[in-house]
């Protein structure tokens, strides 16, 4: 298994299969009364979060704790970082304290790469800027696999702000690797023209795409993008690229709806759509813990104990 998880592009198809298979068995652990296995006893996992992300941090924290690792949460407010400590000095400090894995969330694209040069611990990218979010993509693949027998030929649309989305990048690369067909949908201002070179199709017409989908993946749209004039108004965005109740009817019966959260109900997804049985958004959350357990186990526990 790889030493660091910086980008999903590092993983082979077989790696992804192994991660998802291992997650399968860890998912069962989460259904027990005592949700804990001793696999990483005595290992130290640091959650280094330069950006607030309660759900991702808690998911990693639970994953590490269920594997019996010691977990340290290092958030930037109220720490040495708020006193101006550089990423490098923070890294050297964590290194000196004997961290085995550092899970990093950072607003700068590439920060996990930089960090990996300075520490001997395994670095896991928990979302870097507008670059990648590989564990999100893996939990999404896991969730998709629960509903479909194979990724081969599976049709997925990712709808929204592709340009600024680390989720979209990782999931596109991941699905393409597994043999799925990805279409990126949204306003032209939010889809880099180079995205076609990622092995994905591009469309600006959501209604044309919906009837052919197996998975409709909605991205959170930040109101900030409207202020930057990537689209003229939230209302217009929602009308053209939001998943309304009517649009759901255009989806095939077997299609599922996904969202990485947190949702803007009423903007990219109608509130009643988010609560439909075919919207598997809470499953994604549950699976996130199992997939992160699998990654920590495979990267720290198996060969390196």
């Amino acid at each position: 298994m790889i030493k660091h998880l910086l980008s999903i592009t590092q993983l082979s198809r077989e790696d992804v299969g192994r991660i998802l298979d291992t997650a399968e068995s860890f998912r069962e652990v989460g259904t027990r009364v005592i949700k804990k296995v001793p696999a990483l006893r005595g290992r130290t996992v640091v959650n280094l979060f330069y950006e607030n992300s309660t759900r991702t941090r808690i998911s990693f924290e639970l994953a590490a704790k269920r594997l019996s690792a010691d977990v340290i949460n290092f958030s930037t407010s109220g720490s040495s970082v708020s006193k101006g400590e550089s990423l490098k000095d923070t890294a050297l400090t964590l290194q000196a304290m004997g961290a085995d894995a550092i899970v990093i969330r950072h607003s700068s694209s590439g920060a996990p790469y930089t960090l990996s040069h300075w520490v001997s611990a395994s670095v896991l990218n928990a979302g870097d800027g507008t670059h990648e979010h590989p564990t999100q993509a893996l939990l999404d693949l896991f969730t998709i696999r629960e509903h479909f027998p194979s990724f081969e030929g599976l049709r997925l649309a990712i709808v929204g702000d592709i340009r600024h989305s680390r989720v979209a990048r990782s999931l596109t690369f991941g699905m393409a690797k597994m043999g799925g067909e990805v279409t990126l949908v949204g306003p032209p201002t939010l889809i880099p023209p180079e995205a076609t070179a990622w092995g994905a199709g591009v469309s600006h017409d959501l209604d044309a795409v919906l009837p052919k989908l197996d998975v409709c993946y909605m991205l959170r749209v930040q109101r900030e993008r409207q202020r930057q004039q990537f689209f003229p108004s939230v209302r217009e965005y929602s009308r053209l690229w939001g998943l309304s109740r009517t649009r759901v009817d255009a989806l095939p019966d077997t299609a599922v709806i996904m969202h990485p959260g947190p949702m803007n109900r009423g903007v990219e997804i109608a509130s009643d759509v988010a609560d439909l049985p075919r919207a598997v958004i809470t499953d994604q959350v549950t699976n996130g813990i199992a997939v992160r357990m699998s990654l920590l186990y495979l990267m720290l526990g198996v060969d390196r104990a």
Binding site: S86, K88, S109, T114, D128, G129, H131, R166, A197
Partner: protein
């Protein structure tokens, strides 16, 4: 008793005189005394070129950041001048974005005094076009001209206002000085990190489109036409800009341009590991842009190769990619990069390379003492280098205070052996003399 140095059996490549052959060159005190085979002199110190060493007029850099005053933790005029000498330079134009800004004669004189004290390389301070580099009010151009400034620029703060740029080009005509522009449309490059294209999309980094440069180049060429002023486009990076400059020259406008060694050799795709040493301004661009830059350097559309030497402290560059300031050092690698990347593969002749790195930039700055010709009676400003010597960047310590070379770890061919400033060795056997 005059001080005599006889360079015996060096290949003299001197575009100003058209000389390119193995010969002997005798230096006496500050001047070249004789050029020709079989030159002899009593009591001369003899340097044997062995037929393999090349002598050229000392290199001239149109664009270097020496950081002093204000940023002495990155570089000082002394260390910058030493790095310049080590790279074969005898004159560099020091950028005005210091603290305080070189927007008045007092700062200009201070830079000159510090350079004189260092005595390692001629330093010609550039003056700011606008006060505080704010892009609004013109500086006292005449006062700085009287203090020796020949090139004005708001480098890194591209003059956004068309009106201010027009007035600068127009006013500067009175002194026949150059207005040098770092062409970059601010609105199109807000928050930029790298060149906009496939790699910016892949890496999730905010892109600066090449067009943000070319839009300003186009505007400024139109303003040069309107005003008759002397426009210089510095560190040209985009294919479209090269086309625009070529066309402006064809129309007889007073437009010149330079390009950096790193834009001639590196690409945006080299940034896949988020190496902050490769974060430069303007950004490394696409293969297509690089090809156009190489063609522009070869045919003379791009008059000069300028380093944009931008030293930074280690803690500045050891940061997250978007937080690390842009810039690479360049004075100690420029000649070797040009020799390795352009002359070696035959993209440009050795004589043209010397013209781009010495003769033309000296002409643009009006520096009569530099850039050759190397002929009797002329000031002895020259470089001697070994075109066959291989070395790896970063293996030996830099003479600059900074280590942020975009070429770190790369193997280059061509090494400076001697640099001479007004007849005095500033570098001898590869090492600065002071």
């Amino acid at each position: 008793m005059p001080n005599r140095v006889l360079f015996r059996g060096v290949r003299l490549v001197d575009p100003a005189s058209g000389h390119d052959a193995i010969t002997d060159v005798l230096i006496e005190d500050e001047q070249v005394m004789a050029v020709g085979n079989g030159t002899t002199a009593a009591k001369a110190h003899v340097v044997d070129g062995g037929g393999g060493l090349i002598m050229a007029p000392g290199l001239v850099d149109l664009h270097a950041h020496l950081r002093e005053p204000g940023f002495e933790h990155k570089e000082t005029i002394e260390t910058g001048a030493r790095a310049a000498a080590a790279g074969g330079y005898t004159a560099v134009c020091a950028m005005p974005n210091t603290e305080p800004v070189a927007d008045n004669a007092a700062v200009v004189m201070e830079v000159r005094n510090l350079a004189d004290k260092a005595g390692l390389c001629g330093v010609l301070p550039a003056g700011a076009i606008t006060r505080g580099l704010a892009g609004e009010a013109l500086t006292d151009i005449a006062e700085m001209w009287e203090a020796g400034v020949r090139l004005f620029t708001d480098d890194h703060n591209c003059v956004q206002s068309s009106r201010v740029m027009r007035l600068a080009l127009e006013y500067a005509r009175a002194f026949d000085v150059v207005i040098s522009q770092h062409a970059q449309d601010a609105a199109l490059t807000e928050g930029w990190q790298i060149h906009e294209g496939y790699y910016s999309a892949l890496l999730g980094l905010t892109g600066a489109p090449a067009e943000a440069e070319s839009i300003v180049v186009g505007r400024d060429i139109a303003l040069a036409r309107l005003t008759g002023g002397r426009l210089h486009i510095t560190h040209t990076s985009a294919a479209l800009s090269v086309e625009q400059i070529r066309s402006a020259k064809t129309r007889g406008l007073r437009v010149t341009a330079d390009v950096t060694p790193h834009h001639l050799s590196l690409l945006d795709e080299d940034l896949v590991s988020y190496d902050t040493y490769l974060r430069v301004n303007p950004p490394l661009r696409s293969a297509e842009d690089r090809q156009a830059l190489r063609e522009g350097a070869a045919d003379g559309t791009l008059d000069a190769v300028a380093t944009d030497h931008a030293p930074h402290a280690a803690e500045d560059k050891d940061q997250e990619f978007d937080q690390a300031p842009p810039g690479t050092t360049g004075l100690e690698t420029a000649l070797a990069v040009v020799l390795t990347e352009l002359v070696g593969p035959g993209l440009i002749s050795l004589s043209d390379a010397v013209a781009r790195m010495s003769t033309r930039p000296a002409e643009i700055l009006g520096l009569g003492e530099h850039g050759g010709p190397i002929a009797p009676g002329r000031p002895a400003n020259l470089v001697v280098f070994d075109p066959e010597a291989d070395w790896v960047v970063g293996e030996r310590p830099f003479h600059s205070m900074a280590r942020n070379s975009a070429f770190t770890g790369r193997k280059l061919r061509g090494r400076v052996i001697h640099t001479m400033l007004l007849g005095t060795f500033t570098v001898r056997e590869g090492e600065p003399t002071r």
